[in-house]
Symmetry: D2
């Protein structure tokens, strides 16, 4: 049992931490000035490249996954996304295919060569998901699931950490700090919209946060416009804006047949939409190099 003395030590340690300046954090530019580059299979995130992650909200079946993955690959995505474990507001909604979904992701990777990012929701699933995925996603609702953050801090795979709907930038960075403090410095931050009073869009995409994050941290920052707005018509312009504001990439939902999607079909791009989006982003790449050089 901890003696009173030990607790006093803890109190002293706490006070010390509070007095530390933020630059002491492992995630900060002060701790590491150069951009962190995250590598997963053939893909690179950060350090000047603009990375596109695409795929369906949920892994549904072999046909859907293979079809969507082929389009993602064909039009230039670097990483494939797809959920095998789905956090759903209702216990009666489709909860994901679990292990079977992981198998289908692995199959899609074999066929396309694209590395795979997929969500892990619980500490008990990290070993399993890590054995399949190239990047572990920690979802918006788990951004302050500190046990999970500690656990993926010990993983040997990169982590894509989504900002929560209610997470301040400071809290978001502290969540990433949990992972780095655990020994895993391969972390990608993902802005995906915050909850505000506005109801015309599902959430409010906070692109200012990209500017602030790029200034404060060396970790790469990507943007997920699909979940932010919940409407495919707005994904393309917001993806362009994400590139223009200085993000290191985007993550978008794309589905070979969105009308049949088991979840979030309204916000999924069709392959044709995705093709146009990729051509628009490519056309901006020259300008992007100029902006980065400033």
């Amino acid at each position: 049992m901890a003696s009173v003395g030990e607790n006093q030590n803890a109190a002293v340690a706490e006070a010390m931490v509070h007095s530390l300046k933020p630059q002491a954090l492992l995630v900060s530019r002060e701790a590491k000035e150069a951009d962190t580059v995250v590598r997963a299979g053939s893909a690179v995130v950060g350090g000047g490249s603009f990375t596109v992650i695409a795929g369906p909200c949920s892994v549904e079946n072999a046909e859907q996954m293979v079809c969507t993955a082929r389009f993602a690959h064909k039009y230039g995505a670097s990483i494939l996304r797809g959920g095998a474990y789905k956090p759903r507001t209702s216990p009666y909604s489709f909860q994901g295919l679990g292990t079977e979904g992981l198998e289908l992701l692995a199959q899609a990777r074999r066929l396309t060569g694209l590395p795979v990012v997929t969500e892990v929701m619980d500490t008990q699933d990290v070993d399993l998901v890590e054995s399949y995925a190239d990047i572990l996603q920690v979802g918006a609702r788990n951004v302050q699931n500190f046990c999970l953050l500690k656990r993926v801090g010990q993983a040997r795979k990169p982590v894509l950490l989504k900002r929560g709907l209610m997470t301040t930038i400071k809290e978001f960075l502290m969540a990433a700090e949990y992972i780095l403090a655990g020994g895993n410095d391969q972390v990608i931050l993902c802005e995906r919209g915050i909850r505000t009073f506005e109801t015309a869009t599902r959430n409010t995409l906070d692109l200012s946060a990209v500017c602030v994050l790029k200034e404060m941290t060396h970790l790469p920052v990507v943007v997920d416009p699909s979940h932010a707005v919940g409407n495919r018509r707005y994904v393309k312009p917001l993806a362009r804006a994400s590139l223009a504001v200085g993000a290191d990439g985007i993550m978008v939902e794309m589905h070979c047949t969105p009308d049949k999607a088991l979840c979030d079909g309204d916000q999924s791009l069709t392959p044709a939409d995705f093709k146009v989006l990729m051509s628009e982003l490519k056309a901006m790449s020259g300008l992007r190099q100029v902006w980065l050089a400033c």
Copy 2:
């Protein structure tokens, strides 16, 4: 592997759920009109009683826990609170005493007879925490940690579920539904303040939510003013308001020596504050019976 046919079945099921009216939920008044009464040791929550849960933010050491517990018992609290596992924004803040904290809670229960509520943060800790605690707390940051909700749905102890900082009332009820759907109908809902633009208080206590919840669900609803405002001077009036608005109880932080608390000392009542609060609440109990009878 699920065939396409099976997935189509899932899609059909999803569509059915979406078309269901909310009254079909297990948490709803339509499913069960009478108030649910949660029982834990000598304590009762819901069904007409007004229950006071008190104790320190964190279990720190034997002396602090015993001293605080004796005051809680002396002045009339029905349930003792104290955190052994602490969700902290920073990985460098005090993370709780863990198992040792659970032992100290058990010791305080032996000395006072008060049942104990304490937070469980991870599915892997549920068995352990359940073996010590009388009520399992799921914290605000885990209100949509669906794996944890499913797991405590299988526990044989009641669950106190805190509303998240940005959880809508509908999402809050759906989180509770996960627990009931798992087979555990002993759930206490706890309003603890939501995040808004206002920064004069730590969060904004949403007492309207108590009215809405009491109308929509049969589950008991308690209010935690301490975390909502983060300032002990405002806890007493907001506790009175919580009773006046129709809550089934309150959860307040109390510490024998708040100035030495390892966390949240500013919002902890002193034993003297708590004594006054309890006398004020008792003086309102006659009126409360009249209000409930309307």
Copy 3:
């Protein structure tokens, strides 16, 4: 034309203001420790009393106004409310009866003896409204209409200032400061709900703000639960909570026939509701005196 020198003086003045501590403000407890008591006709707001303001959202016609005013008077309201100028989101909604509405309010005052509070929306209407009303209301949407604040600062009638949906407590106090700085120290502050992400109620009533305001300012603070929740079923419990939290009064909407109201009928109490509410508040008055004495 101001010379550069004069502008530099302005810059110096600005810098001085920024360095001033908040206690220098006229609204602050530091500037005036004792509670301000606002007097209007037979009514008193602040200084220990609990004042009930009641009446319809809009003045609609003589029959409605007289009928509602008689009930307000009969059951114990101290001040009558009713809108002659209505701020409406849509230009096509009923905009109020204007001067005719002011006449009807004056008629209701003659019949009941109750002083009248009504909204003024524009600087050009202040003279007219002041000639009829006992208290000038500045509505939530005009809380930072600084020209209007300056103008009512020169009025010889008290002002009821509503907090805006987006107004921080600090901004709210600064808005009141505009009125006091203009020479009118008879100001009543009114909390009426803030806009948050929650949509189950029209707005979120911020009762913590009452605690903070009562600590920071000597001005009386009343609560309008009707506009905050937009549903008459929740008005009674929130009115009780307003008293319990330490407010100096409430403002509620009451209509002799809410189902026929031209606006906000859903949130208007019936006369029968209002009678019960008043008896509940009266039953709490003894306890209130004890709380205030602490």
Copy 4:
């Protein structure tokens, strides 16, 4: 006096309006499919062009205004901004130069040829401001000052209407509807950041709103990144993002010597910053034509 019958007519009219679909609004694409083009002096807003409005927060003196205007003109701004009447949270802050500020704006227009936009805060000032300005600005805090909206609806000059800090898109469009209903169809909408829980930036720029607005209304939509973020370092990337998302222009603060600005100096671009920004925006104009053609 309106008879009961007349009020019943009003109630019927109200019910009719509620049943009308939004496309009936004058601001809607359904009422007018083609983009509205607003013309002021030599400048055009909407209809395919990308318009840059630049200038200081406040008009301070002749030297500052002339110097800043010359830079705005030199680097390619189409419209000059500058506040003569300043809405300030504190009554003790610099409130603007008033008429003298209007004179200085007129002087700057003579020297540069740029049309001028400036804020009008009160109905009583509209005639005066209209006699000087080319475009009347209605500020964020007055977006639901319905008397002012009605008054500028009768003006013969275009109106730049800023979204409030907590105005929904629907409310924003209804505010514009007040102006069009008054007979003035020359309205520019301006997104300038909304108030959220995030405090790392002054407000949260809502670029999704541009997508929604461009879909729903024919009115031109510009973006003010300066007020949204309150930090000049973030203005350039957010201006690029505003163009990329489909806005019809931007409004940015620029000051010849930001360090000496009487207000908002932190968010004002230097002339050198502005020059770089303009070259970046020009480099995007070719791509923009392609995006608009899709």
